[in-house]
């Protein structure tokens, strides 16, 4: 019941926006003066708001030559959105509205759960102990370095 009414409300909002556009005959890509006024008053972040401007993290490739320009922002005036700050929440699916979680997302959740389960392990690794008996040496490209082989021999 509630859900359908909120959906109706949303579609009403959308039709309100399109109606307005039709009234103004506003077809350009930019905001009309009225829309600009609304944006400026209600949504635009200004210095007086005491909030930092939001930016997305740009992560360079550690192992490659980086072509992307990574702009340095001053930390005092910007807030970089973090994708790792709330990692302890991420070993379970978060609620969805209209878009389902993807396979990629479920893989992420599973690995976060696996990390959570291994967090307190000391020394021996449960994953390694479980998986290593299944290793067939013909499946892997055996390296020349002796140190790599010692990995198998040690267990």
């Amino acid at each position: 019941e509630r859900r359908s009414s909120s959906l109706q409300h949303k579609s009403a909002l959308f039709s309100c926006v399109t109606d307005k556009k039709q009234i103004h005959g506003h077809e350009s890509w930019s905001l009309s003066p009225e829309e600009y006024e609304i944006w400026d008053r209600l949504y635009r972040i200004k210095e007086s708001d005491g909030v930092k401007e939001l930016i997305l993290p740009q992560v360079p490739f550690e192992t490659l030559e980086n072509l992307e320009e990574i702009s340095k922002h001053e930390e005092e005036t910007t807030h970089e959105l973090s994708l790792s700050e709330w990692r302890i929440w991420q070993n379970r699916p978060f609620p969805t509205s209209m878009v389902d979680h993807s396979d990629r997302c479920y893989h992420f959740i599973s690995v976060m759960e696996m990390i959570e389960l291994m967090r307190h392990e000391q020394g021996d690794c449960s994953y390694e102990l479980e998986i290593q008996p299944h290793l067939r040496i013909e499946d892997v490209h055996v390296q020349r370095k002796k140190s790599h082989l010692s990995m198998i021999n040690s267990t």
Partner: protein, 104 residues
């Protein structure tokens, strides 16, 4: 039986990830815990599923049933640096294949 072949594949990925991490550890003079290597191995294993599904869809989108290097390049489209690296490797492979054919 399917579970067994999954475990076998995971073991091969885990072994190879271990070797690669050891190279990085020596280069950067850091150490990886066994749990970190296990996590990277599991991420790599699962990432193969993402890649495989995307490659199949990209090929199908181009009305092909055979995955080509063009599909692989699409996997790297989000980063210019990565795309450049993969494209270079692809070009190197093509030219070395041509050389081998000429020898024959």
């Amino acid at each position: 039986h399917r579970f067994g072949s999954f475990q076998r594949l995971k073991a091969a990925v885990h072994y190879t990830v271990g070797c690669l991490c050891q190279d990085v550890a020596e280069n950067k003079e850091v150490q990886f815990s066994k749990q970190t290597i296990a996590a990277i191995a599991e991420i790599t294993f699962r990432q193969c599923e993402n890649f495989a599904k995307d490659l199949e869809m990209f090929a199908r989108h181009a009305k092909r049933s055979t995955v080509t290097t063009e599909d692989v390049k699409l996997l790297a489209r989000r980063s210019n640096s990565l795309l450049k690296y993969i494209t270079q490797k692809s070009d190197e492979l093509i030219s070395s294949n041509m050389e081998q054919k000429e020898k024959k």
